[in-house]
């Protein structure tokens, strides 16, 4: 390369400028950012701001290990070990200087995070990224205890995912798995259908006369034509989807003993394995801290992800009302980066850049058989708006499906590596 010496110096100087904002020992106290929730969104914000320097970052998280929901379906299909979904906070502490505060946060506001044990952590600015909680009270016979012991939703990774896999493996020959899908909006729009695919994938090898029945309150679902194409090709006759026209658009009750679910049309479906995924809200702390107002999700400024209700508190990931973006790990990571630069601009003398948003959701339908959907977004008028999107096409060849599956794995490794090291 033939850059003149002068150009080289200019570039080097410009690169050096970025590090001018590194922690300044002379400054008495750095401004304090407290992030609640060390999942995909919260951990991304914490490490991005800490790595930039100039801000004292504390991450509040109740679990020592973060199990990703994304690719948990690959565990159900026996493609991945459970441990491959696990990530911890050691690198974030050592590499980026994030301080960890392990424990459950009860509320955020007025410059402090109050922990369930009564201790308080002061902040100058806060980020809340608690993920989702569930509307258990919509259904008779279904609550957290039932989900933990008999009818897993497995829509947060952890014990329920292990239980669902055990139930799948122990199912009688020729039995039926029923997946009751949630109403919109919910975490990971293709999630229940990828789950059906990966369960069918496992069953096709181990229990080939079994069935997977998806009961849906919705009349259509994410990547529908692509999933149906894959099911017909890979698991003919095994996966059936029953849409909202036939379920009445909702579920009324779960009978955990009988493993049955009652639809709004009062039809009862019995299962050998029942995976009931309830309707969702923002994580409890967002509701308890007044961030969701009268709704289920926290409304935010689309450019900065700052709450429109509680100034100085940003909400991102699944918990925010994210406009046109789907609730996904990719989206949470993208929103966290936009939020990080807004936070840095507000708390240090760093420049603010225009926010950028992107999502891609890869789903694995079978061995080396991936499909994808994605889009670019911008901070629009009052919400995050889609600008351009793409989706896999029906009729793609094997090589394309294999490339798409490999891309998804590449993304998983890159993003979890970027966040958790």
């Amino acid at each position: 390369m033939d850059l003149s010496r002068r150009d080289t110096m200019t570039l080097a100087a410009a690169a050096g400028a970025a590090t001018l904002f590194a922690p300044n020992v002379a400054r008495a106290a750095l401004p304090k950012l407290v992030v609640v929730g060390g999942g995909t969104g919260g951990a991304t914000v914490a490490r991005t701001v800490a790595a930039a320097g100039g801000v004292d970052v504390t991450l509040v998280e109740r679990n020592p290990v973060y199990m990703t929901c994304y690719f948990s379906n690959l565990y159900l299909g026996d493609h991945w070990d459970y441990d491959r979904l696990a990530h911890n906070y050691e690198t974030m502490k050592a590499r980026d200087g994030v301080k960890m505060a392990m424990g459950n946060a009860a509320s955020v506001g007025d410059g402090r995070v109050v922990m369930s044990d009564g201790t308080e952590i002061a902040y100058d600015r806060a980020v809340v990224a608690p993920g989702i909680d569930f509307k258990y009270d919509m259904y008779e016979g279904f609550d957290e205890h039932v989900a933990e012991t008999m009818v897993p939703h497995a829509y947060k990774s952890g014990n329920q995912l292990l239980m669902l896999k055990q139930q799948l493996m122990a199912m009688r020959e020729g039995g039926t798995v029923v997946i009751a899908a949630p109403p919109n909006p919910y975490r990971c729009p293709p999630g229940p259908y990828e789950r059906a695919s990966m369960m069918a994938n496992w069953l096709s090898r181990n229990n080939p006369t079994a069935k997977v029945l998806i009961l849906d309150p919705k009349t259509k679902h994410s990547k529908q034509g692509l999933f149906v194409e894959g099911w017909n090709r890979l698991y003919p006759g095994m996966v059936e989807w029953v849409g909202g026209e036939f379920t009445g658009g909702d579920f009324l009750a779960v009978d955990a003993q009988a493993r049955s679910v009652t639809t709004a049309d009062e039809e009862v479906f019995e299962a050998d394995v029942l995976n009931f995924i309830p309707a969702q809200t923002a994580g409890r702390i967002a509701i308890d801290s007044g961030l969701t107002g009268d709704g289920d999700w926290a409304s935010v400024d689309p450019a900065t992800l700052e709450s429109t209700l509680v100034p100085g508190v940003h909400v991102l990931g699944d918990a925010c009302a994210n406009g046109d973006m789907p609730k996904s790990g990719f989206s949470a990571n993208s929103q966290a980066k936009a939020c990080a630069q807004a936070v840095l601009a507000a708390m240090t003398d760093r420049r603010a850049f225009p926010p950028r948003f992107r999502n891609t959701c890869w789903s694995l339908v079978g061995d080396d058989y991936g499909i994808k959907v994605g889009a670019s977004y911008k901070a629009g008028d009052g919400k995050i708006e889609k600008t351009e999107g793409f989706i896999s096409q029906v009729g793609e060849d094997d090589a394309t499906h294999a490339q798409t599956a490999a891309e998804g794995i590449g993304w998983y490794e890159a993003m979890t590596g970027e966040i958790f090291g």
């Binding site: 390369m1 033939d2 850059l3 003149s4 150009d7 080289t8 200019t10 570039l11 080097a12 410009a14 690169a15 400028a17 970025a18 991005t48 990719f330 990571n333 993208s334 980066k337 630069q341 420049r351 850049f353 950028r356 992107r358 891609t360 994808k372 994605g374 889009a375 670019s376 600008t387 351009e388 999107g389 793409f390 989706i391 896999s392 490339q403 798409t404 599956a405 490999a406 891309e407 998804g408 794995i409 590449g410 993304w411 998983y412 490794e413 890159a414 993003m415 590596g417 970027e418």
Partner: protein, 122 residues
């Protein structure tokens, strides 16, 4: 001439300048300027450092799975690849979407950022 045509022409000119720079013979400084500048204004590496965060959601140094590494990528190769994704010569839907969401200022900023990374390696 419509706006789109103007944009296409500008992209083509840029592509030509960049492929010349890539060809390496001469390695004229003006060609490298086409890579690192927009309308004669140098790309802003600090902006590039922010923009590259979008890339690192998928791209990692050792290029796991189906995503190639872009660490230490030559700025000229980078600009050409992005032009080819944007105009459909390269067809990967994910990268087409990424490339089409970046304007000239963003591409110059990213190229400038990659150039600073190359400097560090050299």
């Amino acid at each position: 001439m419509g706006v789109l045509n103007t944009v296409a022409l500008a992209a083509l000119c840029a592509a030509l300048a960049i492929s010349q720079a890539l060809a390496g013979d001469g390695g004229e400084m003006s060609d490298m300027r086409a890579v690192l500048t927009v309308d004669g204004v140098p790309g802003d590496p600090e902006y590039g450092e922010y923009l590259v965060q979008e890339c690192t959601a998928c791209h990692v140094a050792d290029g796991a799975g189906g995503v190639p590494p872009i660490d230490g990528i030559a700025p000229g190769y980078f600009r050409l690849a992005m032009i080819e994704y944007a105009d459909g010569t390269r067809e990967n839907a994910v990268m087409v979407s990424v490339a089409r969401s970046l304007g000239d200022e963003e591409l110059a900023a990213l190229a400038a950022w990659f150039a600073t990374q190359q400097e560090k390696q050299d």
